[in-house]
């Protein structure tokens, strides 16, 4: 510790200012995290805004067709990608968490594949969803295929036994 303080002293006013900025930054970060958590406690974060963002998808993007539609291999691959990249926020079964909304809701399940692909590509940055264009286009379509397969799974599980 003594050595560290000596190092800061040698760094002069700029070094001390940097340390102060770091301490201030970390404190602000902690407080912001607490406020954000308390404000959103008990409600899936950004639920309304994220669904509202789907209405902003350009018409041309909505019309894009899923090249993997009906491909069971794509569903499996999309499920793997979902688990790796999306489950952290949207939950392992896409039912939503405090950080991200449910993807089983009507708004998502009835959306055009192109809409989901556009949201994946562009994210909803102002509401905390990052852009996912770093995943190659076919992988994003595989995730869309998986998401749309959840609709069928939900319907099947809801059907009364014959």
């Amino acid at each position: 510790m003594k050595t560290s303080f000596a190092l800061f002293r040698r760094s002069g006013p700029i070094g001390v200012a940097t340390i102060c900025m770091l301490v201030f930054g970390i404190s602000v970060f902690g407080i912001v995290q607490v406020l954000a958590q308390n404000e959103n406690a008990g409600e899936p974060k950004n639920k309304k805004s994220t669904y509202a963002a789907m209405a902003e998808v350009p018409e041309k993007a909505r019309e894009k067709e899923n090249p993997f539609a009906g491909d069971t291999q794509a569903v499996a691959a999309g499920g793997k990608l979902f688990e790796q990249h999306c489950a952290e926020c949207h939950g392992p079964k896409a039912g939503g968490t405090r950080k991200g909304p449910s993807l089983l809701r009507e708004e998502v399940q009835q959306a055009a594949p192109g809409t989901l692909f556009w949201i994946l590509t562009n994210g909803v940055v102002r509401r905390g969803m990052p852009v996912w264009s770093k995943l190659p286009e076919p992988e994003r379509w595989q995730i869309v295929t998986f998401l749309q397969s959840l609709k069928l799974q939900t319907l099947t599980s809801q059907r009364p036994p014959e």
Binding site: M1, K2, R10, S11, I14, G15, T18, M21, L22, G25, F29, G30, I31, Q33, V34, A36, Q37, N38, A41, Q73, A76, A77, G78, K80, L81, Q84, H85, E88, K99, T121, N122, G123, V124, V125, R126, R127, G128, M129, P130, V131, S133, K134, L135, P136, E137, P138, E139, Q142
Partner: protein, 304 residues
């Protein structure tokens, strides 16, 4: 009644306890598979996912004419504060063979995404403060008139120089058909008024070996590998801009994103002129921990 706290106890225990808290926080986090780019010097426009902490260790072996070869290393803590802001803290060190191993400084870097949506070219603003000694050899960026002979002196001589620098980059990056192209113009200012502004560049191109994911978890699937090339070097300074007395490197790069949440990176940089180190052999290991922000928030009293 105020409790008496022994200052020696605080001095001895606080750093250890802080480290323990950090380790416990990381253990409490869930790991996440990242799709990391293979670049080591160049930046693309993708930021850390919000709330995630990525811990990275990098090593650079460099050959040195007129001096001893070295191995410079740094540890990065990269945190996604929001979907448009990533902040990073670096700690640097180096071993010069037949000389010594020393701590060479720290850096604090911030990246801000400027546009909400994806575009053909996506700009990100990069601002970094560096507090390093002249013995810093990580070569994370090569600026101004940085040349190989600058690093030839002994560590004892080099560490006498202290640099406080502000570095700014405009990260321009585009992804199309699986290819990522990134261009980073760089401007650096030593905070001493007498020092000139220095210029540099870094460019890179990369692509995953497969664009489609396979249905099963696998270590050696082609989609887990991203290969590319990057080039970086100095462009002089305000007193003497241009390519004379500058060094430049061309480096093939590869990243291996493992399903076990680790990412490995390799790069072999070749000096392109006589002012450059002949070889910069780099490797890095990183792991992403998601949910780190929530854990830290809980330490400050946030709700679980």
């Amino acid at each position: 009644m105020a409790a008496h706290v022994n200052p020696t106890f605080i001095r001895q225990k606080v750093p250890g306890l802080s480290f323990l808290v950090l380790i416990l926080s990381l253990l409490s986090c869930r790991s996440a598979v990242a799709q990391e780019s293979p670049y080591i010097v160049t930046y693309d426009h993708y930021l850390e996912e919000p709330g995630s902490l990525e811990v990275e260790y990098f090593s650079t072996f460099g050959t040195q004419r007129g001096g001893n070869d070295f191995d410079a290393f740094w540890t990065e803590f990269e945190y996604g504060a929001t979907a448009w802001w990533t902040t990073e803290f670096y700690v640097d060190g180096q071993t010069t063979f037949d000389d010594s191993t020393i701590f060479t400084g720290f850096r604090w870097e911030n990246r801000f995404r400027l546009l909400q949506r994806e575009h053909l070219v996506n700009p990100v603003l990069y601002i970094e403060y560096e507090n390093t000694s002249g013995a810093d050899k990580i070569l994370k960026e090569v600026e101004g008139h940085d040349v190989e002979s600058d690093y030839a002196a002994s560590n004892a001589a080099l560490r006498k120089e202290h640099d406080h620098e502000l570095e700014m980059k405009l990260l321009l990056s585009s992804t199309f058909k699986g290819w990522n192209i990134a261009v980073n113009p760089i401007v650096t200012k030593n905070l001493l008024p007498s020092e000139p502004w220095e210029f540099a560049y870094a460019v890179g191109a990369s692509r995953p070996l497969a664009l489609k994911a396979s249905p099963n978890r696998c270590n050696f699937c082609r989609e887990n590998f991203i290969a590319g090339v990057e080039m970086y070097g100095g462009l002089g300074d305000t007193q003497s801009a241009g390519l004379h007395d500058t060094s430049h490197y061309l480096a093939p790069v590869v990243a291996w994103n493992l399903p076990s949440d680790w990412t490995l990176r390799f790069s072999s940089g070749f000096g392109l002129n006589d002012n450059s180190h002949r070889l910069l052999l780099r490797w890095g290991l990183s792991r992403e921990f998601s949910g780190f922000g929530e854990i830290v928030g809980r330490f400050f009293g946030g709700r679980p």
